[in-house]
Every structure is written in C-alpha cells, then in structure tokens.
C-alpha cells in the first residue's frame, strides 16, 4: 500500500505548512538527541582509554612497584659516608620467595627499566628505553617472538650480554641491516641481538611510558651485575639502591587474583615495614572503573531522558495545535474516503517524521560536539554505531509516544462539524 518514502514525503509536505513553528518544536528533540550522542561519545572515549590502559597491565596480573617511602630522601650517614644514600624497594629474594612458595602464582617477572644511549656498529646513537627482565616476561605480557629467541634463564644465570629488540626498536636502530647477531652498545657495554619480539596488543610496558614494542630487553641478572643496583637519585641529591623497579606476578587465573593479592600484601607487610612498595591489581581497578562507568551511564541516561521528555511534550503541543488548525482538512479527507485509522496514521507519521528528522539533525550536532571536544579539549571520543541507532530510534519513538494523543484527537474529529466550520 503506502510505501515509506511516499508517506514521509507527504508528511513533510503537510508539515511544511508551518515551517518555523514546526522547526522550533523539533528543537527539543534535536538537543536531546545531540546530548545523548555527544555524551555517549565522550564517556565511551574515556571508558575505552582507561579500560585499555588497565587491561594493558593484564587482568590476571598483580603488579608490585618499588616506591620511595613517603616523606623520605637519601640521607648521609655522618660516620661512614659523605654521600646521601637510601636503599628501598623490592629485593630479588622477595620475588624469589613469592615465585617458589606461593601456591596461586603461575609465573613472575622482575623488571628494571631505564633509558640508555644506544649505539650500533653503524655509529647510530639514540636514546632508547631498556627493560632488564627475565624469561617469563614474554608470557606475562602476552608478547610473541618474531625472530630468534627471547631471554632465557641461562642468560641471566651466566650474565650473558645478549639483548632482544621490540618490533619498533628494530626500526629505530637497524633500518637497513638485519639486526640478528648485530652488536649494540648499551650503557657502555656491548650486547649481542638474539631475537625480535612483538606485542600485538600494543601494550604499554609496566614501569615505563613507552610501548613494549619500543623497548630493548636485556637479562635482569646481567644488568644487576654490570650496572649494579645503585644509581643517582632522580632529584640529583645522593644515591638510591633499588634491586627491582617492579614485579609482574601472574596468578593461575582471574579467580586466584584476589587471594594471591591478600597473601602478597600480608607477606610484604611483614618483610617491608617501611612501606616501600605499592601493589596494583588491574582486575580491581577494572571492576571499580566498570562500576563507576555504570553509575555515570545511569545518570546520563536520566538527563537524556528528561530532555527527551521535554522535547516530546513540545512535539505533543505542536501536533495538538496542528490538529485543531487542520480540522477542515481532516473533515475533507474523511469525505474523500479516509477512515479514522487513516487519519490517525497520518498524524502519527507526521509526528514521527518530525522527531526523526530532529533526531537526524541532533545526531549531526552530537558528532559536531564530539569532534569539537576531541579537537579543543583533547579528550578521546568514540562514537559507537549503536549510539547513532539509539539516537534515531529514541527520537522516532518519542514522536510515536507523544504523537499518539494528538493523532487520536485528529481521528476523533467529527467530519460534519469540521466541514461546516469556517
């Protein structure tokens, strides 16, 4: 019978009787949908970014970081030394103990990260982030070997001077030569390249701001022996002694994360009374983030719902005005063969076309707001397809719900009275 295109075209013609008034009525729906789309874009963007940051630490991992105890600085021991000095943080023996005796642990990897000036034989000299770590680092970060091999337990045990390159580090260091078996000068010592690895998820390395793929990896034990555990303090006054910057401890499964965390904090509480460590549980962060996100979504939906309600009332108002103004037209349509249902549908479709159109413009405005926020406020935004579908669906639904009463009024118009009225 009536096809959709034709029906909507007719509805547009009918609505064109009062362009300004109709446009004003649609403003409410427009702004409602625009706020829905733009707010969803902003919250989705924020959610994706924070979730990917949390997930990059691994949901079945627990991360323990060495931190300088609050309010302390390296101090000079007046009797023996003159240089301010401070030792803190995780010890190799802590990690060893956890790995060997904790039941819920699958594997662990100690990490030390630092930027070094690196030189190749081709005399390139670039500042590259270096991670000193252990064999299981590959597994806990879900990194894969592209060529050669990763660090092996024996590399550390025998203090071998070997290194593995992340995919991006290969590009910065060896643009034109095959890096395998090349030599690399790290911190004044020659290391041989034995492999190339890639982290497909493009994760950020623990204890660093760079991607895993940007790093060069050397054995943790080799680093401790060659470079030692003592280095200048960050603020330049004195020396600090840190054995391990961070440890990634992988639980047997997600379910083992919280028991493991409890046991770990219990153990560290007794062995590190100075609180020179920090435990980060990505899973807990994830849960917390998800629940705050849920609250945020509920609040936002309520706000969007109210603005759509207001918009819908505006539509109802204008449609009622339309009906009483077009009584004569309704009467004439009835005389020409429209039954009550035809009239009802006509006004319902008009209301839905009006709000649907408002919704489309609102979606466009939502895109504009999201783009503006992204460009000028430097906030990440994501416009999920479902939010566009939701925006359009909701606006058409608003037209249907709030158009129903005016449409009923139109269908109830008595054609005789309507035709007689001047």
């Amino acid at each position: 019978m009536l096809n959709v295109y034709q029906t909507i075209r007719t509805a547009l013609l009918d609505l064109s009787l009062h362009k300004v008034r109709t446009g004003m009525a649609a403003l409410g729906v427009m702004f409602g949908v625009a706020s829905v789309v733009s707010m969803l874009a902003i919250s989705e963007g924020a959610k994706r970014e924070s979730l990917s940051r949390i997930k990059s630490m691994g949901v079945d991992n627990i991360i323990v970081r060495s931190v300088q105890p609050a309010g302390t600085t390296p101090t000079a021991n007046s009797e023996t030394e003159s240089v301010p000095y401070q030792a803190y943080g995780l010890k190799a023996r802590d990690l060893h103990h956890v790995t060997k005796t904790f039941a819920n642990v699958r594997r662990t990897a100690g990490v030390r990260s630092k930027r070094y000036k690196l030189s190749t034989l081709q005399d390139k000299s670039i500042s590259v982030p270096v991670i000193a770590t252990e064999h299981d680092y590959l597994a806990v970060t879900r990194t894969t070997i592209l060529r050669g091999r990763f660090l092996q337990p024996l590399d550390g045990a025998e203090h071998r001077r070997v290194c593995v390159l992340g995919r991006n580090a290969v590009r910065t260091l060896f643009a034109f030569t095959d890096p395998l078996r090349q030599r690399l000068l790290i911190g004044g010592q020659w290391f041989r390249v034995v492999g190339i690895v890639e982290n497909k998820a493009e994760l950020t390395a623990v204890g660093s701001d760079d991607l895993i793929n940007d790093h060069v990896f050397i054995p943790l034990n080799t680093a401790r022996v060659i470079f030692g555990d003592v280095q200048p303090a960050q603020n330049g006054t004195g020396l600090i002694h840190v054995e391990i910057d961070a440890a990634i401890i992988q639980a047997l499964s997600e379910n083992h994360v919280m028991p493991l965390k409890n046991r770990l904090s219990n153990y560290l509480l007794h062995t590190h009374p100075k609180k020179d460590y920090e435990i980060v549980v990505p899973l807990a962060l994830l849960r917390q983030k998800e629940s705050t996100q849920k609250m945020f979504t509920i609040v936002m939906s309520a706000i969007a719902g109210i603005s759509l309600l207001v918009g819908g009332i505006g539509i109802m108002n204008i449609m009622l005005a339309n009906v009483s103004e077009r009584r004569k037209e309704i009467g004439m349509r009835r005389a020409l063969g429209a039954c009550r249902r035809d009239i009802l549908l006509q006004f319902l479709v008009e209301a839905m076309t009006l709000t649907g159109l408002g919704g489309l413009i609102g979606i466009g405005m939502g895109f504009a707001v999201a783009y503006t926020v992204n460009t000028y406020a430097r906030m990440p935004v994501t416009i999920p397809l479902w939010s566009v579908v939701l925006g359009l669906g909701v606006s058409v639904a608003v037209g249907m719900v709030f158009g129903l009463w005016p449409a009923h009024t139109a269908a109830a118009v008595n054609p005789i009275d309507a035709l007689r009225s001047e």
Partner: protein, 224 residues
C-alpha cells in the same frame, strides 16, 4: 426500469442541542435514479445540510433505511462508510476545501491514495481529470495561486478521482461570480450527459434551469 442508485425510506434524524432534542429530518423518503440531475432546495434550517450529510455517508441515520446502489448502507462501520465515500460519492463544496500544501495534481490524487490505486497510475489519471474539467496546464500550482473558478474545477476533478457514480455538490457556485459559476455548472451538465448522477444541495434559484428535478425540503420534510 433499473434499480435506483439512491433510495431513502422514511429517514429520521435528530440532534441533541443542549438538553433539548431537535428533530431535523422527520421521515424523508426519496428515490434518485442513475443519470438523474437533481437539486434539493430549501431555506437554511430546513434540514438540507443534514440530508446532504446522510446522502454523503458522513452521518448515520436514527431510523429508516438508505439503499445505495442496491446495498443497504444504513448501519455500516467507519471503515465501510469510508470505502463507500471513497468510491461511490464525489463531494464538491462551496468553499472548495482544497489542501493548501498540495499542488493541483496532489489535490486530485488524495482520493486515489485512500483507494490504494497503484502509485504510478495516479499522476496520469490526475492530469487527465484536470484536463477534462478545463484546468489547462496549471498542474503544479498551489491553491493560493488559483482563481476561484480554477479552485472549484480542481475540487470537481478531485471528486471524480475514483470515478464515482454520484456527485454531491453543496452550493458549488456560492463563492463564485455569475460568469464563473455558469462555467462550473456546465461541467456538471456534461457529467450528467456522461451518465453520472449529480445532486445539488442549494437555495439558489438559478440551478432550476439546469436540473431535471427539483426537490424542496421544508421543516424536515420533503415536498415534491
């Protein structure tokens, strides 16, 4: 003798006006045959408009029987009444009642929409009707760009959209000057010549010269 196209038997109709019941039609009976050219005349308040509404199936009767084209239409549902109005009756009003948002062809197509005539046929049919009533080439004009005569010609073309047997015209020249009115009445003459039944409802005496029969209604009763 073929069966009459319209047959009213003892029609009663009353309206509630406030607390009082006002009897408007007090037992009207009439018979109109195919090809008849009839004027129902009477002063205002005589029940003329009520009779028109009942003949046009816009109103339902209280008592009596209405046979339309051999079918009893006295007590039909809304959808059935709408279908009969759409296909069997064409309305022409004094005030034209065109749709201001549609052009000439759009106005003529409205009854076809409710008749679910295939969409591709509608513009051709509308154009043909517009030409038949002498609208020339003013197809894409909106009603406010038309003269009174052109508006009434559009309304007649619209009434003819679904090829109805009966044309009901309520004071069709009432808003037109004499010369234009004559032109409009000529169109009705031609419709009768082509076998259609035309019923005027009017109080203007000039219709007498055109029609074959005049019925006079007075105080809810028909005087023949």
């Amino acid at each position: 003798m073929p069966s009459p196209i319209v047959e009213l038997r003892n029609i009663h109709k009353s309206y509630l006006i406030g607390p009082r019941r006002l009897e408007v039609l007090k037992g009207v009976s009439l018979t109109i045959h195919r090809g008849d050219y009839v004027a129902i005349m009477g002063p205002s308040g005589s029940g003329k408009s009520s009779l028109l509404n009942i003949l046009g199936l816009l109103d339902v009767l209280d008592a009596g029987q209405y046979m339309l084209d051999g079918e009893d239409v006295s007590r039909l549902e809304d959808v059935e009444l709408a279908r009969h109005r759409n296909t069997k009756i064409g309305f022409v009003f004094q005030t034209f009642n065109l749709f201001p948002q549609y052009d000439v062809l759009g106005n003529i197509e409205v009854p076809m929409v409710y008749h679910s005539r295939p969409r591709h046929e509608r513009p051709d049919r509308a154009r043909e009707l517009a030409e038949r009533v002498g609208l020339g080439q003013r197809f894409d004009h909106k009603p406010n760009q038309l003269s009174g005569g052109e508006m009434q010609r559009t309304a007649i073309a619209r009434a003819l959209a679904n090829d109805p047997q009966i044309i009901l015209a309520d004071e069709p020249t009432g808003n037109l000057d004499e010369k234009t009115g004559k032109g409009i009445l000529t169109i009705f003459d031609e419709l009768v010549d082509n076998g259609r039944t035309v019923i005027f409802v009017t109080h203007a005496p000039e219709y007498r010269k055109h029609v074959k029969r005049v019925m006079t209604i007075h105080d809810g009763m028909l005087l023949c």
